[in-house]
Amino acid sequence: MHARLPAAINLGRIGAGAIAFAFVLSATTMGDALAHTSQRALVMLLPTEHYLIGGAIAVSFTFVMLGVIPARILGKVFGRYVDVCRNVLPNPEDWRRHAVSSFSFLIFSFLIYAGVAGSRDPLANPLPLTVWTLGWVGLTLAHALLGNLWAWINPWSGPYRLLSGALKLRDKQGPPFTLPKRLGYLPAIVGLSAFGWFELVDLAPDDPNRLAWAAGLYWSINFAAMLVFGEADWRSRGECFSVFFRFVSLLAPIGRNGAGRIVPVVPGARLLAEPPPSPSAVLFVVLALATVSFDGLNKTFWYLDLIGINPLAFPGRSAVIWPNTFGLMLMFGAMASLYCLCVVAGARIAGAKDPWAGLGRLVLALLPISLAYHFSHYVTVLLINLQYALAAASDPLGTGTDLLGLGNFHVTTSFLADHRSVKIIWNLVAGAIVIGHLWAVILSHAIAIRLHDTPRRAAISQVPLAALMVAYTVFGLWLMSTPTGA
């Protein structure tokens, strides 16, 4: 009979190859989403199952090696950055920040106008392209590279400064009301949930007019909340992008030292300088990871079959609103439970006095995974939609102007239909997933060393969480290679 694929490849070679591949990757691109049939069709021809095995071995091997490496070495690598300035927000009184933010607000206002008055085509209108592609995808990656840009470019700080000054809201007593401490990050969790639902479940999140109303409403609610509770507090715990981008920016390879100067740091070291996140902050980080994970799972044949949908004849979003709403909630619940279970079980095995103590700090180790998923999942969208964004920038209101002189510009997606480029993209996607998990395992180990009195206990405490990360590596690689149909 006919064997499937080159089955003669021996596993030892695969594992070594995959580990080497995981380390050798340099950089570049991407994954799925707008991905049409041919890309997954080509990915299915690749020996992706070997990557799943290799990825699991790479992450497991790294974990074992961490147990062998003396703790002081890790301490040296990360420890010298603990004093890195924790205040990632620039000086709140810095007029330059307010100027940039005000400019950002003007652009935002123009985009809202374009959403209402410009082209009805979501791939020709600059609003959806800015929100979904440049914003949600691009800005997230930019924060992981450059730090907390949102502190400067958010569209609230400038207008808040102007209006709160005019209304005399910023007197010495502070804002009119104090955001209750007991709420923790709940407002941000509500915001991120609403955003995630709109992105993944709503019938037409790309529709320019619908998005203009949604974005305008989001801006207004948050602006009102800042006037009531003050910008600093609301942007720390209420406005979900301020919270999300700040967490992501902790991964950046730059930070500020005690003198406020920008200095290079080991990526992720800034996480160790963070105070332990509260339980609600833990939920926020898990929600961010669950959202991007579900935005992948919900397109797989496996999931569609589970909810009774024929993946070759996807009936459209309107048919799956409730299953996807519950699916998103379930994903969040399952991931939060699994994370807590692994951390607490690990602490108990290691004999920790307070098994719940590590929940806060260790959640920060999930951030590299979240970033890796973000990169892998959205990078093909980024590659395609940046082309559309360029065209939209040239004709922002759909009036036929050609400000950038693009002429007869046509978007191409051929890199998704060519086996060589698909192979490159797959390797980058798979590499990002594996590297994200390796990074997470290393960080969680470095955090554990601070939580436990001996390196041995720290290593033991990490066994369940490391197992979860190995499983999540396999899940991530499967997600990027399994057939999709929605």
């Binding site: 997954r40 080509l42 044949f301």
Partner: protein
């Protein structure tokens, strides 16, 4: 039993068809607007509003239809530009208002409603995916906005839609499948095994082709339905009956390349004749890895992807305007393969809308009923710049167009046309008479 029938004849007005008379008038007026000659006609043109005719373009920008939507958009824009450069419709330019339907029927219905009530569109146009057409058409009927679909689905001619829904730019799957049978039976073999995905799309192929082969004295000796979630196909190949002369496959989705690859590994060099539908590989390079096995196999094409020695000058003109080279790829990127067997439908439908509006003396939404009647009165469409895929015959009763189909053989990394069907090969008995429904 399948039966070939002629579609209805056009309605004549005072000996000369109203369409021809008005088309000439409108065309001349349009030309005059551009060139500035023929003062009398210029006055006629100027007496009309110069506001654009709004074409609501229901496009799959997001969702599963997005890959097709990109080329439908590109073709539509090229056709609109050409029409406008040629003087527009009745001297008025056309404006394309694109709305994304998310490849979703509920959203599709909302989009049609937006065209009618918010954008003041004169017609709605351009939908491909059948479930979106079926979800949107009732709303178009209620709002009495002409809805020109480019879908291939048999839903229009089957009679389940309404008088305001028409498909004048692309043939339907029933006609396509049926017209393959005579050549397959005569040239490849009479004993056929069909491999198809186990849902409506595959079932349509199974039913239409089985009936058509029986009419040719052939027989479908094996019907292998593949579950839609399947990603490996080895276990199905042993089910192919001995004595199979032709393997008819119509797999779709991400498993297509795996299917072909595994089929090649199963058969090796000894295999039956293989016949497929290009839908499986639309927008995919025929030279993709894993497709080597298709060398020497046959495909249905609605419009030959590769320019042929016998291709018409109209096809060359159409390729140049849309920006597609002789291999069916974008002139900007030779790896960007067009959805060539489908997108011509947008081009031809827009030209048919123009023809209908000119015949109806269309001035605005108040003339929508006249437009429907004018399009229903169209019958023969000559091969031309407006119809680069080839001549067609429109059936005004069933609102469905019929045309030539092509069978191409894979050879030397290309698709080479070996047969062009007659239009009549695709005829079947009328299943509805929409003209009996009130406007």
């Amino acid at each position: 039993m399948v039966e070939s029938v002629k579609p209805n004849r056009k309605k004549q007005i005072s000996g000369v068809s109203r369409r021809k008379a008005l088309a000439g008038l409108g065309g001349a007026a349009a030309g005059a607007t551009v060139s500035g000659v023929l003062p009398g006609f210029v006055r006629y043109a100027q007496a009309q509003t110069s506001a654009p005719i709004k074409i609501g373009f229901q496009v799959h920008r997001t969702g599963i239809g997005a890959a097709y939507g990109r080329w439908y958009d590109r073709t539509t824009r090229a056709a609109a530009q050409l029409i406008n450069e040629s003087g527009g419709i009745n001297g008025r330019p056309i404006e394309i208002i694109a709305e994304d339907d998310g490849t979703d029927p509920k959203r599709g219905a909302e989009v049609v409603e937006k065209f009618a009530t918010q954008h003041g569109a004169d017609v709605a146009f351009g939908t491909l995916f059948s479930h979106v057409v079926i979800g949107s058409a009732p709303r178009a009927g209620e709002l009495k906005i002409p809805y020109f679909v480019v879908s291939e689905g048999h839903h229009v001619a089957s009679g389940i839609l309404n008088r305001y829904t028409l498909q004048p730019g692309i043939t339907d799957v029933k006609s396509q499948v049926q017209s393959m049978a005579p050549w397959v039976a005569s040239n490849l073999g009479k004993k056929v095994t069909m491999i198809y995905p186990d849902f409506a799309f595959g079932h349509d192929h199974r039913d239409y082709f089985s009936a058509a082969m029986a009419a040719q004295g052939g027989e479908v000796i094996g019907k292998i339905a593949i579950p839609p979630t399947e990603s490996s196909f080895f276990k199905y190949f042993p089910k192919i009956p001995r004595g199979t002369e032709v393997l008819y496959h119509v797999m779709v989705g991400p498993g297509v390349l795996t299917f072909v690859k595994e089929m090649g590994e199963f058969f090796g060099s000894k295999r039956p004749e293989i016949f497929g539908f290009i839908d499986s590989l639309e927008a995919v390079s025929i030279n993709s890895p894993g497709l080597e096995f298709l060398e020497g196999s046959y495909f249905w094409e609605a419009n030959p992807r590769y320019a042929q020695a016998k291709s018409s000058k109209f096809d060359a003109f159409y390729r140049a305007k849309v920006g597609v080279d002789e291999t069916g790829a974008s002139v900007d990127d030779p790896k960007d393969i067009a959805t060539y067997s489908h997108m011509f439908g947008c081009w031809e439908t827009l030209h048919t809308i123009k023809q209908g509006m000119e015949a109806a003396g269309y001035r605005g939404p108040g003339d929508r009923a006249k437009l429907i009647e004018a399009v229903e009165a169209i019958d023969n469409m000559e091969e031309s710049q407006a119809h680069p895929q080839g001549a067609k015959i429109f059936n005004g009763k069933t609102h469905q167009v019929f045309g030539h189909q092509f069978i191409s053989k894979v050879g030397g990394g290309k698709l080479n046309v070996v047969h062009k069907t007659s239009i009549e090969d695709g005829f079947y008995k009328d299943e509805v008479d929409y003209t009996s429904q009130p406007l």
